[in-house]
């Protein structure tokens, strides 16, 4: 019985922690979850990840390239904007466990198809 209880406590503990924090996890981050919370939470589990944390896997220049817009919308690249260049940190707009909110949308009705 004893090992069983320990296991249960561990499992439950893990479940509670995850359910409180890992809600809304993004499917494409599955492998990151497999490697453990500390993969992103480089400043301790109770703290927000550092702004550099996401950049362990994502490259700002490449992201800027991927979200490049042409012609009329050229200035609306969220990863290379007129206001913040490539310096807006990921978590200003993205949240792993929270709703996404693009900072641009504070003032503009931009159409970001993947981002509502």
């Amino acid at each position: 019985m004893k090992p069983m209880t320990t296991l249960l406590v561990l499992a439950l503990g893990g479940f509670i922690a995850l359910s409180a924090q890992a809600r809304d996890k993004r499917d494409y981050h599955e492998t990151v979850y497999d490697s453990g919370c500390k993969t992103c939470h480089d400043q301790g589990l109770k703290s927000f990840p550092s702004d550099e944390s996401c950049l362990q896997c994502h490259d700002m220049t490449k992201l800027a390239d991927q979200t490049k817009r042409e012609g009329h919308d050229a200035k609306q690249n969220p990863h290379d904007s007129m206001h913040y260049g490539q310096e807006a940190p990921c978590m200003e707009c993205h949240g792993e466990h929270t709703k996404k909110h693009a900072i641009c949308m504070d003032c503009h009705n931009f159409d970001y198809p993947k981002f509502n």
């Binding site: 453990g36 919370c37 500390k38 400043q43 301790g44 589990l45 109770k46 703290s47 927000f48 550092s50 702004d51 009329h72 007129m82 206001h83 913040y84 260049g85 310096e87 807006a88 940190p89 978590m91 200003e92 900072i103 949308m105 504070d106 003032c107 503009h108 009705n109 931009f110 159409d111």
Partner: protein
């Protein structure tokens, strides 16, 4: 288990840091444990903060730090429309515009309605040409066109090509860094550290602060060798604070400001006994659109169009204001446009497309549903339920005023609209004011020193510049006049600190 143990370890560590911080912050300087020390400490990364950083760098300061609480730099300044009033520049002369420091000060005094500070306005207008050159030296590029921002006797608003304050902020940030200025985001200023007699020694900063998570990160004590400049901007985003000061500015009215405009620096200086001035003079922008957040695209579009367009009340189909009067005049009239139940019934700005299309933002306002195109007066009347007859008559009358070069209805200055008749098709935008600028703040003098309320004397080592300072513009600030003010006093604060 591995993870859990290191988690525990972390927990203890964090608790220990947390316990130290409040202890080390005390009125007695010898008790303070300093985590960092810098020669010049600047709080806020907008025009005032960055102008100070650049000037201090030019003056040879070796260790300058700029703390910014958000994850992004620039505050309101990077959202700004990129317009800056300077008097008597080479560009004005090239365009045949005669202007002077005196005229610029006079215009601002009139808009200030007796409350503006002539001394501070003159100080910033006189520094204008220096600031204009300083921004150019940083790499800012101005358009070849000067803008009329309303309430001025001559056209004097110079604009950077980006048509946004980003065109100032990014080159200035780069220049500041080239002087070795340390620029730190996610560092939230939480209060001043002073000796018992009020001299400012340094500040408390929350390092690794995450926006809207007030207890994130850790508190550190930062010592300032030459002084602290508070350049934290205004409080338009703090609804409780602004509504306490002006009951008309509740949730019904949006705002154009950046997320950081919550008045932190102002509130902390008040706590240390600084002199509050004109806090209730809060300005709303009469060019804002209720169909997008913030300043957006509509503001620039209507600013371009006001000189040759008409603003129409939806109940009467008629004009109700001089479309180029100063901001307060227009915003006060706009917010009175109400339906029968007293609910907001935003007025319509009607612009002829043949002229409106000269403004690059027309594409944007149409694309993002901030303005709409109509083929005829009838179509507008039908869509917005305007009484057609008076509306038609108003448009016809307006065209007569254009021809005569005189507006008997509201006395609008007609020279910017010469030959621009109100003919179809039309572009129509809705107008509803948004809280935009805080004229009030903390009192400073021409050295950018912060004044103490109890004796009217400067608080040693404490400086303020930009929107957080008050009393400069009085009741209403003219468009394009904050940029030069913020930068002039940022420059001044740096000079004072380097002399002190």
């Amino acid at each position: 288990m591995q993870t859990r143990r290191s988690f525990l370890k972390f927990g203890v560590g964090a608790a220990a840091i947390g316990a130290l911080a409040p202890l080390s912050v005390s009125a007695n300087s010898s008790d303070v444990i300093w985590d960092e020390e810098h020669e010049v400490v600047i709080v806020g990364s907008g025009f005032a903060g960055l102008a100070a950083a650049v000037e201090a760098g030019k003056l040879g300061a070796k260790d300058i730090v700029v703390f910014e609480k958000l994850g992004v730099y620039g505050g309101n300044s990077t959202l700004n429309a990129g317009q800056a009033c300077f008097a008597d520049t080479d560009l004005q002369r090239k365009l045949g515009i005669k202007d002077s420091v005196d005229l610029m000060v006079q215009d601002q005094l009139a808009s200030g309605r007796g409350y503006a500070s002539e001394i501070l306005l003159r100080h910033s207008a006189e520094l204008g040409p220096y600031v204009y050159q300083l921004t150019k030296d940083c790499g800012c590029v101005y358009r070849d066109h000067i803008i009329n921002t309303g309430g001025t006797s001559v056209t004097r608003s110079h604009q950077v090509v980006e048509r946004s304050g980003a065109g100032f902020i990014r080159p200035m940030l780069k220049t500041a860094r080239s002087y070795g200025v340390k620029t730190k985001t996610r560092h939230k200023f939480e209060g001043l550290i002073t000796t018992e007699d009020g001299t400012v020694l340094g500040i408390k900063v929350r390092k690794n602060y995450q926006t809207d998570h007030e207890d994130s990160g850790t508190l550190i004590n930062v010592r300032a060798e030459k002084g602290v400049l508070i350049a934290t901007g205004g409080f338009a985003a703090n609804v409780a604070f602004r509504q306490a000061l002006d009951p008309t500015l509740g949730d019904e009215v949006g705002h154009t400001n950046a997320r950081g405009a919550t008045g932190d620096g102002l509130i902390a200086m008040l706590a240390e006994g600084a002199m509050p001035i004109h806090l209730s003079f809060i300005q709303s922008g009469p060019w804002a659109s209720p169909d997008e957040g913030g300043f957006g695209y509509g503001a620039g579009f209507s600013l371009y169009n006001f000189p040759h367009s008409i603003a129409i009340d939806r109940n009467t189909g008629e004009r109700f204001m001089n479309e180029t009067a100063d901001r307060k005049h227009r915003a006060d009239l706009e917010i009175q446009r109400r339906d029968k139940d007293g609910k907001p019934h935003p007025a319509l700005l009607i612009a002829p497309k043949h002229e409106a299309q000269k403004d690059p933002s027309m594409d944007n306002v149409l694309r993002y549903n901030v303005a709409w195109e109509f083929d005829s007066i009838e179509a507008i009347a039908k869509h917005f339920e305007l009484p057609l007859k008076p509306f038609q008559k108003q448009v016809d009358d307006w065209n007569k005023y254009v021809k005569a070069g005189e507006d008997p209805q509201f006395g609008k200055r007609m020279n910017m609209g010469t030959g621009i008749y109100m003919t179809a098709p039309f572009i129509v935008q809705r107008l509803w004011p948004k809280v935009h600028y805080c004229q009030g703040g903390i009192q400073i003098n021409t050295k950018a020193e912060v004044i103490a309320a109890k004796n009217g004397k400067p608080i040693p080592n404490l400086y303020a510049a930009g929107e957080v300072s008050g009393g400069v513009h009085g009741v209403s600030r003219l468009g394009g006049c904050s940029t030069p003010d913020c930068m002039a006093f940022g420059v001044t604060a740096a000079r004072s600190m380097m002399k002190a």
